[in-house]
Symmetry: C2
Subunit: 210 residues, 2 copies
DNA sequence: TCGTTAGCCTAACAAACGTTAGGGGCACAC
DNA sequence: GTGTGCCCCTAACGTTTGTTAGGCTAACGA
């Protein structure tokens, strides 16, 4: 039945499902609609996936994993002793960039999540939790280095950041604000500092700190 | 066909639809499931609403309006010359409280939005825009009074705040963090200040500002 | 007392859903 | 040449969807 983890058709099916899921939600992501986007008939889908929900679950998982991996890679590329603010900016930027690059999947993971049957939702939860833990670490570093008031509950900071990032799927379109502008805004709101000189918008005009 | 804007059954139908929509999304909010929660049969729904989508739209609209009105009321209750930080805290708290009180509706408005047909989504957009404008004003005041670095793009601040607030539906459960804790956290992250003495957590232990 | 209306019912409709059965064609191994 | 899979097809299945038609009952005003 369900084919190996490779294959052209398989990834095309996932792409199509991601677009439909993110744009119009679970009810619109019918097997027939997915198949039509790929250029095959509905029944052929079942040579690659055992069920519709298996497709949906794969899309949701990938939507989270792809962002997680991008952020991990961005952090790994920094020097080991990089200060917390640099790490924060790198993580924000990587998250936003990955969200944009794999827009269909991340959009599906954020928007589609609520419309998906509970059976599909549950396995996705643990994947999300792993990503949240990564941010727990970043926030802890920020507070340890005094860039964020240590008295503010760390969960509040983490949830605010993740909320802002996740919600960015709803409004962010390239062109209005640049991706670096958004990452920079978020970082400065949280730390209320000027951007580090070696990151992104070095040419930005400076203003006296508050 | 569709009944007047009052009536016991009508509001019970809306309540039931909101719960289903928020918890399991548009596909699970079937006319039969809604009717079953109310204790009537599917066909009877059509004595109160012309279609399923009319119900869904009413739920989505109410989910936004109820929060908007709560925030407006909270701001109106403040003295006319209240400083921006006080207004910010009042607005945050009112948003969170309304989200919690009318949880089914706000949850449906945030989570269900993505899974709803485009025809239902569109009218809801203008309602959301009105609420966003309210926050545009708050952010402008914060920057005018120097509580937020005026160089940070105002849209970045607004979108971060609204993102954090909207996403709070996903994780906030009373008991872990109190509602005041969350509102206080968000306000302090944005302004990096101690809470104003006359608001909420006056008994909180103080720490030196960064 | 009668007519009207509101509110609910049963029954059924066409359409769309996810899914399965079974067959055809093409590519490669032997 | 002849098998053996892979990939896709047509056709159909049983179920569920939103919705409609039409009738019953109880309440209320004239």
């Amino acid at each position: 039945m369900s084919a190996p983890a490779s294959g052209r058709a398989r990834s095309e099916i996932l792409d199509a499902a991601a677009v439909l899921l993110g744009r119009d939600g679970y009810p619109a992501a019918t097997v027939r609609a997915i198949a039509a986007r790929v250029g095959i008939k509905a029944a052929s889908i079942y040579h690659h996936f055992p069920s519709k929900d298996a497709i949906v679950q794969a899309v949701l998982d990938r939507g989270v994993v792809v962002v997680h991996e991008a952020v991990v890679a961005a952090l790994a590329a920094l020097p080991a002793d990089a200060p917390a603010e640099v790490r924060l900016r790198a993580a924000l930027r990587a998250h936003l960039a990955a969200s944009l690059e794999h827009g269909a999947y991340t959009y599906a993971a954020v928007r589609g999540f609520g419309s998906v049957p509970a059976a599909v939702r549950a396995p996705n939860r643990s994947i999300r939790r792993a990503y949240e833990d990564l941010w727990r670490g970043i926030v802890a570093d920020l507070q340890a280095e005094g860039l964020v008031d240590p008295e503010i509950p760390p969960d509040g900071v983490r949830l605010m950041l993740l909320g802002a990032l996740n919600w960015s799927n709803e409004w962010y379109r390239p062109g209005v604000l640049s991706l670096d502008d958004v990452a920079d805004s978020f970082a400065r709101i949280v730390t209320q500092r000027q951007p580090a000189a070696n990151i992104a918008s070095a040419a930005r005009p400076r203003i006296r700190p508050l």
